[in-house]
C-alpha cells in the first residue's frame, strides 16, 4: 500500500479488461449480423474449393436451343465466360433471368440445365429469354457435383485458360454485378 495511485490504476485496468473483451466480441457479432443483412457474409455459404482451379473434367450434351460444351471448350477460352447452372423448376433462377438478360451484351454466358427435362428447360428459356450462347444439359446432376454445386442457381466466372475466378451460390443481382463482377472483369482484362 506504499503507492496507492498506481494500485488504483492497476485495479481499474483489470476491471476494464472483461468489458473491453465483451466490447470486442460485441463488435464482431455486430459486423457478422450486418454482413448477413448486406449479403456480404453468409453462414450457409459453402467455401468453394474450386476457386482459382481449372474447371473440372466434364461434358454436357446439347440442350435445345443451344449446343453443349465440355471442359476442353472452357480451357480453350481467351475471353471470360460466365457459366450458369439453372433449372426450370427453380424459382430463384426465374427471378435471376432478367439480370442475366441485361448482362448478355457485355459478357458471354453459357448455361447448364441442372436436373431438368430438356423440353422443360427449353420452355423455360422461351418464356424468360435466352441469355446463353451455348447450352448443355446435366440431367442426372453429376456434372453439378463435379463442379461442387449444392443447388441452383449457381454461377461461375471462368477466366481465360478455363480457370474458375469467381463463384456465387446465390442468384445474381445488379448489386453483385456492379460491386463484384464488373471490377473482377476489369482486372481480368488488364492481366
Amino acid at each position: 500500500m506504499s503507492n496507492p495511485p498506481e494500485n488504483m490504476t492497476r485495479r481499474r485496468l483489470l476491471m476494464a479488461a472483461p468489458l473491453a473483451g465483451a466490447a470486442i466480441v460485441g463488435v464482431g457479432f455486430w459486423k457478422m449480423l450486418s454482413g448477413m443483412q448486406h449479403g456480404s457474409f453468409n453462414p450457409h455459404d459453402i467455401n468453394a474449393p474450386v476457386l482459382n482451379r481449372p474447371v473440372p473434367d466434364f461434358s454436357v450434351p446439347d440442350q435445345a436451343p443451344g449446343q453443349g460444351f465440355s471442359a476442353q471448350d472452357l480451357r480453350a477460352l481467351t475471353q471470360p465466360v460466365l457459366v450458369n447452372f439453372f433449372a426450370s423448376w427453380c424459382i430463384p433462377c426465374l427471378e435471376e433471368m432478367p439480370t442475366l438478360m441485361g448482362l448478355k451484351d457485355d459478357l458471354t454466358m453459357w448455361g447448364i440445365a441442372y436436373k431438368d427435362r430438356p423440353e422443360n428447360a427449353a420452355g423455360f428459356l422461351k418464356h424468360s429469354g435466352n441469355p446463353f450462347t451455348r447450352l448443355g444439359s446435366d440431367r442426372d446432376g453429376r456434372v453439378g457435383i463435379d463442379w461442387g454445386i449444392s443447388g441452383v442457381p449457381e454461377t461461375f466466372l471462368i477466366g481465360p485458360g478455363g480457370i474458375i475466378r469467381w463463384h456465387s451460390a446465390a442468384p445474381l443481382d445488379v448489386d453483385t454485378i456492379r460491386g463484384t463482377l464488373v471490377p473482377l472483369l476489369e482486372s481480368l482484362k488488364k492481366s
Binding site: P56, W147, G148, S150
Partner: protein, 157 residues
C-alpha cells in the same frame, strides 16, 4: 409396478432414439447388394454433410442432392475404393465443409484446445495474484529524524 415403470422407460428411450436409427435410404433399390459394402457406404455417408439441409448427413437427408451423393458413394464403394479415397473425392469438390467431423488444422486445434488454454491462463493469473497478496508487505521506510522526534513527543506520556 417397478417392472412396468422400467419397461415404459425403456420403450420411451427406444422411441426417442428411433428417428436417429432410421436412415433416409428410403428406396431399397439404392442399397448395394453386398451387405458389407452397403455398411461401408453407410459409414462413409454418415460422415458427409448434406449441403442442402446442412446439419444432416447424406444418409439422414432425403434431399435430392443427398440422394445423388449417396449414389456416388455407393458407386465408388462398389469400385473398391478406400474410405479415404472417397472422402478425398468429396472434399476435392465441396471442401472440408462436407466433412461432418472437421480435420485437424491450426484453426480446429485452437478451437478444441481453447478451454484448456483458458483454464491455464486463469490458473496462472490466480496463482500470481494469490502469491502477490500473501507476500510479506514491504518493510516501511525508516523514520526520518523529524518523525522520530515527533514519535518520541507523542509517546512521552
Amino acid at each position: 409396478m417397478m417392472l412396468r415403470r422400467l419397461s415404459a422407460l425403456f420403450l420411451g428411450c427406444a422411441l426417442l432414439l428411433a428417428p436417429v436409427l432410421v436412415l433416409a435410404v428410403d428406396d431399397p433399390s439404392e442399397m448395394l447388394p453386398n451387405p458389407q459394402e452397403e455398411a461401408r457406404a453407410e459409414t462413409i455417408g454418415s460422415q458427409l454433410r448434406c449441403l442442402v439441409c446442412q446439419n444432416e448427413s447424406i444418409e439422414d437427408s432425403s434431399a435430392g442432392l443427398a440422394r445423388d451423393l449417396r449414389r456416388v458413394v455407393r458407386e465408388h464403394v462398389a469400385k473398391g475404393e478406400s474410405n479415404r479415397q472417397i472422402m478425398d473425392w468429396m472434399v476435392n469438390r465441396y471442401g472440408n465443409f462436407i466433412r461432418l467431423s472437421p480435420p485437424l488444422s491450426i484453426g480446429t486445434l485452437l478451437l478444441w484446445s481453447m478451454p484448456v488454454l483458458a483454464l491455464l491462463l486463469g490458473l496462472t493469473t490466480a496463482f500470481f495474484a494469490y502469491r502477490r497478496r500473501n507476500a510479506a508487505p514491504a518493510a516501511p521506510p525508516p523514520l526520518t529524524a523529524e518523525e522520530k522526534a515527533r514519535l518520541a513527543d507523542l509517546t512521552k506520556d
